[in-house]
Amino acid sequence: MTNTSESRDSADGLPPLLSVGRPRGLLTGTRAAAVELYRSRELVRRLIAKEIKSRYKDSYLGVVWSLFRPIIQLAIYYVFIGHFLGAARAIPDFAIFIFAGLTAWTFFNEVVSGGTASIFANAGLVKKIYLPREIFPITSLGAGLFNFAIQFAVLTAATVLFGVFPLHWAIFYVIPAVLILAVYGLALGMLLGAINVYLRDTEHLVEIALMLMFWASPILYSLSFVNGAIGGTVLEPIYLANPVTTAIVSMQKAMWIAGSQDPAQFWPADLDLRLAVTLAVGFVFLWFAQRMFSRLQGNFAQEM
């Protein structure tokens, strides 16, 4: 009974008069939203559980299905692209390489597309009950994290199976990778989810943008190909500035031991600095997205 008793302890024994809606200030608004969201953590937890449960409800295999998709995907890329197309010749341990990138990408993809659709998907709640509406994109993040954990477990199992378990210090690169994807994914999910209420085309636009982004990140091909094609030109720093690329490279650095030990592979210079800057920019972006969201959410109920 933490927060309720707190708010009841005003001078005359009455709860204080609180304003409806949020302060418009840049910092006070963020603080108010953070407090509200912290108080709603129980609800967020339940909504995430609902999201996961309802996805596989009534299917016999349930959550096992979320294992199948990545495993089949892994097999396709490994067999058809790796061996038939010959991508595996230039990339050692191609299956691990691809799966490391895919795991990261799937997570990001799910958070962004889920977040974009989340406000509409919860129209019933948004129109009828006041809640800090950020919880809906956050729920997408939570559900995405859950699926990521499963995929990551599959990935780890695969490294053990292939005898290339990443027993090295670089395994800690997983942390900034996940953080960057989570921060950017949530920020984009929030922003796009809010815009989608006003402009229904956003959802379709996001679908296409994500497809582009998938191919613009070193998931199916390694960074060495990029370096070979556009290395030294002005395009290379632009390509590398993509935060998703940075996160995916970081993920590969951690999980793809054959690559991180292979001198033929290209790794961007100052990866640590890149990660730090990307993450810092990401937090600023997240703050900005939340401010935008806060402004736009006041009219959600009437726009839907």
Binding site: L14, L18, V20, S54, K57, K127, I129, Y130, R200
Partner: protein, 408 residues
């Protein structure tokens, strides 16, 4: 504890809400609209400078026509939509019952939905666990259904469970929007009983309702909205009268609009001029006391010679037929020559039970073919009946005596 004025719990301060209604929603349409100079949207004011203070323990009925802004006001108070200008402040925990089961997910079981819905309404898990059995008991669901997915529920079960969760969320301020109009009669009785429990516990309730009876039944104060403006704030019965007046105004306005077409009735031999309600001395009357003698004067003009009859009909404020009288019933012959006539219908010792009565007058040929009609020609209020309710009133009294055998 300061005694006299109860603490303020809801403070609505000069709230205005403008809606923008979009015509276009897709990018293509918006781009096309950029090139047109006018924007493809129109603004309308749903709430116009509303200020009100609600104190602890009050039950406020928000009433008004469809589109008067009452639901919008409730949503602004509940924080579901932001006000364009102005501010709303409140004290304590607020729960909005705008739709039962808003947070229900069809694929989850009743049990899972209770927990989910409770946390949507702001309840902690410990609290939900503590009241879980009460919720199930109140909903009247059997234990086997609690662990069934709610998509298999009947709509009645669904609503009952949702209401049960909502009322157990224990708010300090309860916002209710028409949700009491759902469910069967027995369930509605249960809902109203729960609302009274809330009142007894000193909670504040703000209720949106179309039903004047419901407002009269539970509210301690009425706020009447008309086209976004607050036109009345105060006593329940005055408020309901104000609401009826407001209904009446719009109905008169509508009738005036359609009057031209109504004049198309008949071939123009007779024209209705108007109706007056008079007392026995011939003075105009707005308020009729019980047992009073009144005269209803119908004024008409005969344009071309024709045999005709005239009469009037009384309706109550909801348009139900109350009484009809015409010259045929009185055995009164009307002169067929052209000219203006007044026809007086004297009613001795009226005993109307309806509060507001509306008069329509008309003329027909002796075999019933309509010649002219005048709807909503006049209105008057009858003295409220403090004892009974209905179309009629009587001098009533009661007594009680024992019929069991006297015990020595």
């Amino acid at each position: 504890m300061p005694s006299d004025p109860l603490p303020l719990v809801v403070d609505v301060d000069h709230v205005t809400k403008d809606f923008t209604t979009h015509v276009a929603k897709s990018i293509k349409e918006r781009i096309v609209n950029v090139f047109r100079l006018r924007r493809a949207s129109s603004r309308f004011r749903a709430l116009d400078d509303i200020s009100l203070q609600i104190r602890q323990g009050e039950t406020v009925g928000l009433v008004g026509h469809n589109g008067s802004g009452k639901s919008t006001l409730l949503k602004v108070i509940g924080g579901i939509i932001d006000a364009s200008t102005g501010a709303v402040r409140y004290r304590g925990r607020l729960a909005a019952l705008l739709e039962l089961g808003a947070g229900f997910h069809p694929d989850l079981t009743g049990r899972e939905n209770i927990y989910l819905n409770a946390s949507v309404l702001g309840l902690s898990r410990e609290h939900t666990e503590a009241v879980f059995d009460d919720i199930v008991a109140f909903s009247g669901l059997s234990s086997e259904f609690i662990d069934t997915q709610v998509k298999f529920y009947s709509s009645g079960m669904y609503v009952r469970l949702a209401f049960a969760v909502a009322v157990h969320s224990d708010p300090d301020i309860l916002l209710v929007d028409e949700v009491l109009a759902v469910g069967d009669e027995r369930f509605q009785v249960k809902c109203m009983a729960k609302i009274r429990d809330f009142q007894a516990a000193g909670k504040t309730i703000i209720l949106v309702s179309h039903s004047a009876d419901q407002v009269a039944d539970v509210c301690t104060r009425t706020i009447v909205l008309e086209r976004g403006r607050m036109i009345f704030d105060g006593d329940v019965f005055d408020g309901i009268r104000e609401l009826r007046d407001s209904y009446e105004r719009s109905r008169f306005a509508e009738a005036a609009e359609t009057r031209d077409s109504a004049d198309g009735v008949g071939s123009g031999e007779v024209e209705m001029i108007g109706v007056d309600v008079l007392d026995a001395a011939g003075e105009p009357l707005k308020y009729v006391s019980a047992g009073q003698d009144i005269v209803i004067r119908v004024k008409a003009r005969v344009i071309s010679a024709t045999p005709w009859v005239t009469g009037f009909t009384l309706y109550n404020s909801t348009g139900q037929f109350v009484y009809l009288l015409n010259t045929v019933g009185l055995g009164l012959e009307l002169p067929p020559e052209p000219g203006e006539y007044v026809v007086d219908f004297a009613l001795a010792g009226v005993n109307f039970g309806s509060k507001r009565l509306v008069i329509s007058a008309g003329a027909t040929t002796p075999n019933g073919t309509p010649l002219a009609n005048l709807n909503y020609a006049a209105e008057f209020d009858a003295e409220p009946d403090r004892h009974g309710a209905g179309f009629l009133r009587f001098d009533v009294r009661g007594e009680v005596r024992s019929t069991s055998a006297p015990s020595q």
